[in-house]
Point group: C2
């Protein structure tokens, strides 16, 4: 197999969250037990922007952008200068990093776009990259596509510690053997774990000691449940040239349909990302960029209410899974994912995911996507209609009873 | 310099069209002659969507997409299935390729996105790629970023032949020495030359004989001036697996602010592009995709009128440059670019481009961007306000008189 065939063979999307519509699974090939449970479909593979709708001003700002015409259609590759300037101020306030300016911030095609540009700007053939597992499924794929080498760092997320479960000694061992870049999400996707002060501080300290550059995917860092404290890596005692932070309004703020994200921090990395964005897509869609004017400028109490509604769903889901025999679940501290570990089943996990869709009208993502040791877990994005989500989890639990070994 | 530094050093954007706002040029460093000519700024680096506005229904369709909510926000990675299906039918009619279907068409982040995904799907380390010069400036950059090897094919566009100026013998020689992929735009950017029947047929014949895959960038293939005949490579006698065609509504249709493009053809390439888009940006912005419903479905006569208005500007610009001493210009047959060759100047071309901006309030792109032998030419996108464009060309001609050697 030639180099390109090898690279693309690793990039399979058939089982990726959101691609279920492209699957053509034969029911006959699955060992189905019992009848279908007829109820409203819930697609836990991504958030439901019909249940949690975009902040209304986002559309108004888009329309303003459209009316502005050419000036908004043809922004710089980095994105509109005045929008970047406004965002830099708000994100400086949010993260506590005062050095953030418009020139070390890039507007991208979603946070996915920021992640791609960041990895492609830092990882080449043979670059060793510390990748947490489980973590966002694209992290590993991106490193491999750039021909980097993934050095997995296990998260002991069911451990007794107060943090996400990072073993700083394991991380240091990886840094010692030539890792150049570390990539992690905080809150973690798919677990919803938030890294503790000790963990974030430890990452900063080791990165400084070993000269590692960190990509901190903070997509969910605004969606923190009551009592949780968040620590921005960029606000730690670390050279600003060693940290790139990714965020975006696709999740908590439900602006996913606009495809917007940002990356900010290390100036030399942002500069590379700009050059690369110029040949990848020129820029994030011009009119859409205007929707970012609403970001971190939502109406008073809007975010707080959104968090409270998500917390109620989280609590209902965690309670249901925790009560199910053989299921183990960690309560997410942030974000809108749960990652329950399932009991041993009579069918492979991949089949069970198909069975859930066919028999229970529920779509979930297989844990395999998120790490090599997560083949016993499923991921649910619970940013859904409250009642529909809880009913769907009841159906999953019923299906577990049918297929439990 | 390490591998990444080398790759990014080649990706310079400082002089790229549209980035002038990021330049900080000192007037004192330039050898300025005479005073500023005060007149309305014309930015020929891209089309003016305030002069040629989007088809009005595009915004309506976007709003319909926004109202559709989650279904439109979270399309498949390929893009919305029903929009792809509609486009496949229209593009089959346009190109005369009846085998085109929804599954071998991908909606991308602009035609730039299609080009990136296509090159990254076909070019790896050491892949030899035939690249026309002059041609779109990103072609070479993309091949080099993927570590492919550019094999330049010169277009003798001032030649006596009836076509664009392709030397089929030179192309065959390149194919003989290991070229695997060929990349070209038709109508050519920056010249506006349209390839003749003999040229398109010759490319198809040689590609078949040597097993070459062709990326045909047909972004401007709807904007053909009166009397011109266009030949779609995909409609030639060639294996459909060897042709990928790129198009998009950013130019003639002025939808650039929506960042939409498409690629269609070779199924195995479209499949790779889908996998890659999943990690590059997930998808083209969901709501925006809905604007494609207007594409190839514009009101009766809308395109024809748009072409006639561009033809009038073209004729005025070509007349002015042709009358200027020492300037050589080919009349574009399609698209909205002219690429005049300038007389010898007292300053380097890069300085002259800055001088045009500072003294004449005119922005043009330096020919260096488009090919190694084009350092004596400038590119103008004349999709502009008619009178402003002609006045700006008069200013360029006056500046040529000031700086002529």
């Amino acid at each position: 197999m030639d180099l390109l065939s090898q690279k693309f063979a690793k990039l399979g999307t058939a089982d990726a969250p959101g691609q279920e519509v492209r699957l053509h699974i034969s029911e006959a090939a699955l060992s189905l037990r019992g009848d279908k449970i007829h109820d409203r479909r819930v697609d836990f593979s991504h958030g439901d922007v019909d249940a949690f709708t975009p902040v209304p001003a986002a559309l108004d700002e888009f329309l303003e952008g459209f009316r502005a015409g050419g000036a908004q259609a043809y922004t710089e590759y980095l994105g509109s200068a005045d929008i970047r300037s406004a965002l830099a101020g708000r994100l400086a306030a949010f993260t506590g990093v005062s050095t953030l300016g418009a020139d070390n911030l890039i507007i991208t095609n979603g946070t996915q776009g920021a992640l791609f540009l960041a990895v492609a700007s830092m990882v080449a053939r043979g670059t060793k990259v510390a990748v947490i597992q489980p973590d966002y499924f694209a992290n590993r794929k991106l490193v491999e596509f750039m021909e980097g080498e993934v050095v997995p760092i296990d998260l002991a997320y069911f451990g007794n510690g107060s943090g996400a479960g990072l073993d700083l000694q394991q991380l240091e061992d990886a840094f010692k053997v030539g890792v150049k870049v570390m990539l992690f999400s905080n809150p973690n996707n798919p677990i919803g774990a938030v890294y503790s002060a000790e963990e974030v501080n430890g990452i900063a300290r080791l990165a400084t000691q070993y000269g590692i550059t960190i990509i901190a995917d903070q997509l969910y860092s605004r969606l923190l449940y009551s009592g949780e404290v968040y620590h921005h890596l960029s606000a730690e005692d670390i050279d600003p040239n060693q940290v790139l932070t990714l965020m975006g309004p696709s999740k908590t703020e439900s602006l996913s349909g606009f495809r917007l994200g940002v990356a900010f921090g290390a100036p030399h990395i942002v500069e590379r990302m700009e050059k690369l964005q110029a040949i990848v897509s020129l820029r994030a869609a011009g009119y859409n960029q205007a929707a970012l004017r609403t970001w971190f400028a939502e109406p008073e109490g809007w975010i707080e209410q959104r968090i409270a509604l998500h917390q109620a769903i989280r609590d209902g889901i965690v309670q249901r899974f925790a009560a199910a025999r053989g299921v183990r679940i960690r309560t997410p501290q942030g974000g809108s994912y749960v990652f329950p570990r399932l009991p041993e089943l009579t069918v492979p996990l991949g089949d069970f995911v198909h069975i859930l869709r066919l028999q229970a009208n529920v779509i979930v993502a297989s844990g395999n996507q998120f790490g090599t040791r997560s083949g016993d877990s499923i991921r649910l994005n619970f940013s859904q209609d409250h009642d529909a989500a809880l009913a769907a989890v009841d159906r999953i639990v019923e299906m577990l009873d049918r297929y439990r070994r």
